[in-house]
Symmetry: C2
């Protein structure tokens, strides 16, 4: 089961002791530069890779910590990401992996504060959802460049920063799928209302762009009456959607963020739930009745649990095994309709808010 050389063989090859090899390989001080160069050259030549098992065994006391900064508890979406992160991280407990959870009160609220504190705390990786990418970019750069922290964006990207990678459903594709679905459900010339969260959050903005671009192409004569930006607050969403619907009647609504309950309630209050087709985003327990009764015709699920899992996997593989990080890690969106709802329920049920499945994600 051995592949390359080990540290002892390397020491023999270099004609030094394993202590010196260790120092050279791990950039520790106290090695003559010449010696270090020699060791590194030999290591590269023989494809030396440290055995993570042995390493873990010997440094068990030094935990490998990964920070997690997400909006707290709303939408549930972020809780599922968190669950995915913790679940995956727990599989590496024996390798000393620990997650430091540092939630923010809401998307884009006190983000910078929380993140700047976390990058001072000696973590090796950071998983974060940038709600306000412009404000966060300098901090992410600082983490990457000055603190040698690998930053992974999850659920939304911060493309102006130097984050190592991002894990998310491609928001363009997401919007395009919504467009294709609504176009299939509605006749030519359909009028659509788009509801979103924060247009400055990249994920939200690009979903709207993808939708706007493709809807007129999939639906002959189709138009978008307006784009409502309601900041993921239920009450704000309810009010704005009601007003918009009164102003401009539509046949379809695309909700590009996890705020569809407020939209459904607004529709009900105007008795429009039968006559307007809704394509939503994400999935959580409270949405299910609306899918079952047809208020929501389809929803585009972005598997937050898997996103969390994936972010951890990338980080661990990179930090522990040196696997290079891909520049992006797209998660495939899933269309949820009535017939597939059973696959999204947890068999046992029980705890509130956890009805949406993670079974298939292990």
């Amino acid at each position: 089961v051995k592949s390359g050389v080990n540290i002892r063989e390397l020491a023999l090859l270099a004609g030094v002791s394993i202590g010196t090899v260790d120092r050279a390989l791990n950039n520790r001080r106290g090695v003559k530069d010449e010696t270090r160069k020699k060791v590194l050259r030999l290591a590269a030549k023989h494809g030396y890779a440290p055995d993570p098992t042995a390493r873990a065994l010997s440094v068990m006391r030094a935990p490998l910590r990964i920070a997690l900064c997400l909006p707290k508890h709303f939408p549930v979406f972020y809780d599922y990401i968190r669950d995915g992160v913790f679940s995956e991280a727990s599989r590496y407990r024996h390798l000393g992996v620990e997650v430091v959870y540092r939630p923010t009160p809401h998307l884009a609220i006190r983000e910078a504060e929380v993140v700047s504190k976390v990058i001072q705390s000696g973590v090796r990786g950071l998983i974060v959802t940038p709600g306000d990418p412009a404000a966060l970019a300098p901090l992410i750069d600082e983490a990457e460049l000055e603190h040698n922290i690998r930053v992974v964006c999850v659920a939304s990207d911060d493309s102006q920063s130097r984050r190592s990678t991002w894990v998310s459903v491609d928001p363009y594709v997401n919007g395009q799928m919504a467009a294709e679905l609504l176009a299939n459900f509605l006749p030519p010339g359909a009028r659509i209302l788009v509801v979103t969260g924060y247009l400055r959050t990249e994920d939200h903005c690009r979903k709207v762009a993808g939708f706007s671009q493709m809807f007129p192409r999939y639906c002959r004569g189709g138009t978008i009456t307006e784009v409502v930006e309601a900041h993921d607050y239920p009450q704000e969403t309810y009010n704005k959607v009601r007003k918009a619907l009164k102003r401009n009647p539509v046949q379809g609504i695309y909700v590009s963020t996890a705020i569809s309950l407020a939209v459904c309630r607004a529709l009900q209050s105007l008795h429009l739930q039968r006559s307007v087709k809704v394509v939503a985003t994400d999935l959580f327990a409270e949405m299910m009745p609306y899918i079952e009764d047809g208020t929501i015709t389809a929803s585009i699920y972005q598997d937050p649990f898997q996103q969390g899992q994936t972010a951890v996997r990338l980080l661990i593989d990179h930090i522990l095994h040196g696997t290079p990080l891909p520049s992006a890690c797209p998660i495939r969106p899933t269309i949820v309709m009535r017939s597939i709802l059973t696959a999204f329920r947890e068999s046992g049920g029980g705890e509130t808010g956890t009805m949406v499945v993670r079974a298939s994600s292990l």
Copy 2:
């Protein structure tokens, strides 16, 4: 980073040496029964769990082998499962995990022969797609009960056997989704042809059942003209579908196995590709043009790569960390349409037949 007790503490607690504790815990011979009981009781009481890292380090020479029995190269579907298995297994190389690939020539062909050989070869786990579950069940039982091999069925189940678990898209749900989709695409009273592989293979049989059950409910007056069983052979499929279409004109086709190319060709040969809506199963490079040009309206993707990955994960977690195996591990089916096709293409391209993405699966 330490959780429970370790073997040394346990030895102290039991008033014996670590050698004896090791013997007791691992059912090795040469311990007085009384001593063994005592050690086991104490281990349970203090939640002792061996550190897989240390174990791996000390027995590196004893590989932990997992066998993989799948149909070879056709449909490509199985190759993706294989890729998922190898990819995930490689992440545990440092723990001594190895995959032994023992393909069968075709689904249900020479299965028993290959499997019976493999269970004699000292593997700890077996991942298998039972094409002929009735014939395979006794062998699976033998592996589980006599050889202490954990058997995981993948892509299809063998419910009459005592396999530890199975990983697969719920075939009922799969069929139901196809029904909901076709019902949405077609007017009331639509007539449907169903094309399948082997009705004795559980996965195929149940898909057809799910479809047959739900289609009439989603589509008023909808009927199924006939079910064609074509054994996953392209030529057989082509011929039988042509005959069926001539016999009974239909508006829609549900192809419940990865044989849709042959179906598309049959449609083309009769110039019916514009007038018949096809809902297919699975996805591979050669299908993409048919999805783009609308011959196939949607396909239900069963993420074979993820199925392979998942099977390995379950096995490793169980064998290495003692995680109990779930009785089933459903994979969520994904609807593929034109707008999401880009997410299924590999960016680099290159090798034939590998165009379908595994990016998001890591």
